[in-house]
């Protein structure tokens, strides 16, 4: 759920973050032209008020299950001082001129919009007050608001927002930068557990998702691509596909070579998706040879070990003298860690509906990143971006997968070619074979502790993917300041890279979802070498400074706070556990959030792992916008992490992904889901996001719990239960 923090995206983030920090609106809030229905006045681009007092608030960002369609409007409604029951929420179209960047990624929406969305609401409220003051011929300062009404305190005159909205055209919008905001103690909506706005529609199965879109005259499409990424079509039997009843067309798409663009393939279009799919089965497509068809997971592991035997291709960071410190250490530990490619598999398979007419393209898409999709479609089809409209549907999960818009450009191309509105729908097999996978990775560690139990040396040779160590594949990089850098006097990070023909990309807590496992597991190994308690050892490592690495660095004080809290919550060190049961802990900082977790697990004699419970202490600042959504995100992220640790692996063979569906790519199910207890520490820092940061520590906390239960150190994901037999 984030962007790769490189290149243009990285710059955009920095600009957006900087402007948020500077209390600037990151987007225009002037009313959108043509937004007014009869009698319904737009106060600004986000807020319309109907004569009956119903307030419509625009939700700017894509909804992927993170609850943003509810929580961002809650922030506006709070400052507008309108009862939540009077609020209707409308999903905005892709419209960056009005709304700025609209994306679901990086757990960024709350930190980016906490300030500006309050100002959007406050400005609208101020305008309603001014309209009342004008009507009542009194100073605005004599008026207050309450539950969707403006009240003149002295005379007790009152008017509803609905009655006042029409008069707001006569008042000027106050300066958003200086408009007064509520005292948080007066909040009625922010901080109150609020069910998702779409709940009634979700539980009754009403159409909400991309897959539910229907257009008049719409055809259904399926698109077959090569198992080896970007291989071209060598031959296929289009006539056999066309001969299937219900098939309306079949054609080859040349496509390009960029893995994130339109790839070569064969489209089959029909009256129903089932007909199109039956047609596709007749294609007997043969694919051209491709230079990456020899790549394999086994080959990568072998090559990584070869590279690890030599010097890293690049030393990214070297503090102190790591080799001398290893020589002088009381104890040293050497360990190799590895994790596999994994897939996003959002529950709703990739799909998109496109309609091309008179040079203009209209798109309905479950996407996390609509503007990027629009630019891709414009480039590929040779259209102007302004001729492309994108409607954002609710997404049946995202997890970072829908930051890439490959399915959008496919739908657009097929619709233009088919000369009809087309809904493209992938099979689950298409999805698992054509993901932007979380990249695999290999870490070769040496570490040392002194006699007092301090880590004195930490050396990591990270073998990753890319054209060079400083040009890693998407989400395959590692920051030189990644923890525990800066906390250990003698620290070295070396990197080597292997070329890769498999598309990779951000998956929920990118980087962190793998790095937390290796770092927090190896820290546990060093704690064991030092004969220290894992929590006490970690607190010692975190030291006694507040900020490490200067402002914008790592707030060790906040991390110590959550580590201590989770130890207390879980009864760490005080709980008597059964044989082959254990508790493990881990912490991780990502997406501006500080998280520490404890997993309690039991390992049966046959090696099967049962997670009994997980405790989470979280610090995401002073205010939780929607406690219900927040809890759900944390519980879900933790179980998502456990699912990855226990089950998930995509194997590359002959340049292609092997696993095709949930029978061989299992996800965690009900019986394996532990209760997850969560505590939010309220600290005096700005509110930050929750889609991602709870996930990373869950994986090493489980691995460390299994070690505590069995004495077996797991250095590879997913967990191999055959190593855990009694």
């Amino acid at each position: 759920m984030t962007f790769e923090l490189t290149g243009a995206s990285r710059r955009d983030f920095i600009q957006a973050s900087a402007s948020a920090a500077g209390l600037m609106l990151t987007f225009s809030i002037a009313p959108k032209a043509g937004a007014a229905d009869a009698g319904v006045k737009p106060l600004n681009a986000f807020v319309r008020v109907a004569p009956d007092g119903v307030v419509t608030i625009m939700a700017k960002n894509p909804e992927i299950g993170q609850g943003i369609k509810t929580s961002l409007p809650m922030i506006i409604a709070e400052e507008l001082d309108v009862p939540w029951e009077m609020v209707r929420i409308e999903q905005a179209d892709n419209d960056p001129k009005t709304y700025g960047r609209q994306f679901a990624g990086g757990s960024m929406a709350t930190p980016l919009h906490w300030d500006d969305h309050r100002r959007v609401g406050a400005v609208a409220r101020a305008m309603l007050i001014q309209a009342a003051a004008l009507a009542w011929n009194c100073p605005a300062g004599e008026c207050v608001t309450d539950k969707g009404m403006v009240i003149h305190v002295a005379t007790k005159r009152r008017a509803t927002y609905g009655a006042l909205a029409a008069q707001c055209s006569a008042v000027t919008m106050p300066d958003p930068k200086t408009v007064a905001l509520k005292d948080p103690k007066d909040y009625r909506i922010i901080g109150k557990a609020t069910p998702q706005y779409d709940t009634a529609k979700i539980v009754s199965g009403q159409p909400l998702f991309g897959i539910d879109v229907k257009r008049p005259g719409m055809l259904y499409a399926t698109y077959e691509k090569a198992p080896v990424f970007a291989a071209k079509v060598a031959a296929c039997d289009l006539d056999a596909a066309r001969a299937v009843k219900g098939v309306r067309g079949a054609f080859v798409v040349d496509g390009g070579t960029a893995l994130d663009g339109l790839l070569p393939g064969v489209a089959v279009v029909g009256d129903s998706w089932w007909a199109a799919r039956k047609g596709r089965k007749q294609l007997a497509t043969k694919w051209a040879e491709h230079p990456t068809s020899q790549q394999s997971s086994a080959g990568f592991a072998k090559r990584a070990a070869e590279l690890a035997a030599g010097a890293p291709q690049m030393v990214t960071r070297h503090d102190g003298d790591v080799d001398a410190a290893l020589k002088g250490a009381a104890k040293t530990v050497k360990a190799a860690y590895a994790y596999p490619f994994i897939a996003h598999v959002p529950m709703e398979p990739q799909n998109c509906t496109a309609e091309y007419k008179d040079g203009k393209l209209e798109i309905w898409a479950p996407t996390q990143n609509p503007e990027s999709g629009r630019q891709l479609v414009a480039r590929t089809l040779g259209l102007q971006p302004d001729d492309i409209t994108i409607h954002m549907t609710r997404c049946g999960g995202g997890f970072g997968r829908r930051l890439s818009n490959d399915y959008m450009v496919e739908a657009a191309w097929i619709a233009r070619e088919a000369k009809a509105p087309v809904k493209l729908l992938w099979t689950r097999e298409d999805d698992l074979h054509h993901d932007f996978y979380r990249p695999a990775g290999f870490h070769f560690f040496e570490g040392g502790v002194d006699a007092a139990g301090n880590i004195v040396a930490w050396k990591n040779h990270f073998v990753t993917f890319g054209d060079a160590p400083d040009k890693p594949a998407s989400s395959a990089g590692m920051s030189a300041s990644e923890f525990p850098a800066r906390f250990i006097p003698n620290y070295q990070l070396g990197m080597s890279a292997m070329p890769l023909g498999v598309p990779t990309g951000p998956l929920r807590a990118p980087g962190s979802n793998a790095l937390a496992f290796v770092m927090q597991s190896f820290i546990d190994e060093l704690a064991e070498a030092a004969n220290a308690d894992p929590i006490a050892f970690r607190l010692k490592l975190l030291g006694d400074q507040q900020m490490v690495g200067g402002s914008g660095g790592y707030n060790a004080e906040r991390m110590r706070g959550v580590v201590k809290a989770v130890a207390e919550m879980s009864g760490w060190g005080k709980t008597k556990l059964a044989a082959r049961s254990g508790m493990g802990t881990a912490f991780h900082f990502s997406h501006m959030g500080y998280f520490a977790e404890v997993v309690q697990a039991h390992v049966a004699a046959d090696g099967q792992v049962k997670v009994d419970k997980v405790w989470v202490a979280a610090d995401v600042g002073r205010q939780i916008v929607n406690p219900s959504g927040a809890m759900n995100q944390v519980q879900g992220a933790v179980i998502d992490g456990l699912s990855a640790a226990l089950f998930q692996k995509v194997t590359i063979e002959n340049g292609a992904a092997v696993q095709a569906n949930f029978d061989v790519y299992p996800l965690l199910r009900m019986a394996d889901a532990p209760p997850v207890e969560v505590r939010f520490l309220k600290t005096d820092y700005p509110p930050t996001g929750l889609g991602e940061p709870a996930l990373p520590p869950a994986i090493p906390a489980l691995a460390n719990a299994i070690h505590a239960a069995t004495g077996v150190r797991l250095r590879e994901l997913p967990i191999d239960t055959s190593l855990l037999k009694a």
Binding site: G65, V203, I211, P346, M347, G636
Partner: protein, 156 residues
């Protein structure tokens, strides 16, 4: 050929090939889109409907295999079902969903469970819900909602 299907108490006609799964007959031919496509191989449960009261994965039931006169009930029919309504209410009150895509299938499985076992144990819940994947992993709340709908105490 033309199949007459009793869906949510109405007899509807669908002219589809014999091998067309019920899921696609419902979604593309009859416009009943509550049942969702997730895997196509009866692994994820997003497409769960009731056929004569039994929870079935509609992606893997060809329309020709449905007995004549069988009563098919989808998530759209739950509002007319007293147990289904209770389950939906619990799902709403506990704000179970994240993305919401799997939840129609979860609700169908939970409703079938509660009809068979009005006060299910944790083990009953594990067994009955094991065919439904929630990729967002809302399992804690699904369990709580089933308990709430069955009048049992709900752990925080």
């Amino acid at each position: 050929m033309a199949y007459r299907l009793n869906v949510n108490g109405k007899v509807l006609t669908a002219d589809v090939d014999d091998d067309t799964p019920l899921l696609w007959t419902l979604r593309d031919t009859l416009g009943i889109t509550g049942p969702k496509f997730g895997c196509g191989v009866a692994q994820c449960g997003a497409c769960t409907v009731h056929i004569d009261g039994a929870p079935m994965r509609s992606c893997s039931v060809p329309v020709s295999a449905i007995p004549a006169g069988a009563k098919i009930v989808t998530i759209e029919g739950m509002a007319a079902d007293p147990v289904g309504r209770k389950v939906q209410a619990a799902w709403s009150e506990l704000d179970v969903a994240q993305c919401g895509y799997c939840q129609p299938g979860q609700i169908m499985s939970a409703t079938a469970l509660l009809k068979a076992k009005p006060r299910p144990s944790d083990a009953d819940i594990d067994a009955a819900m094991s065919g439904n994947i929630c990729r967002c992993a809302t399992y804690n709340r699904i369990r709580a909602a089933i308990k709430q709908a069955s009048g049992q105490p709900v752990e925080a």
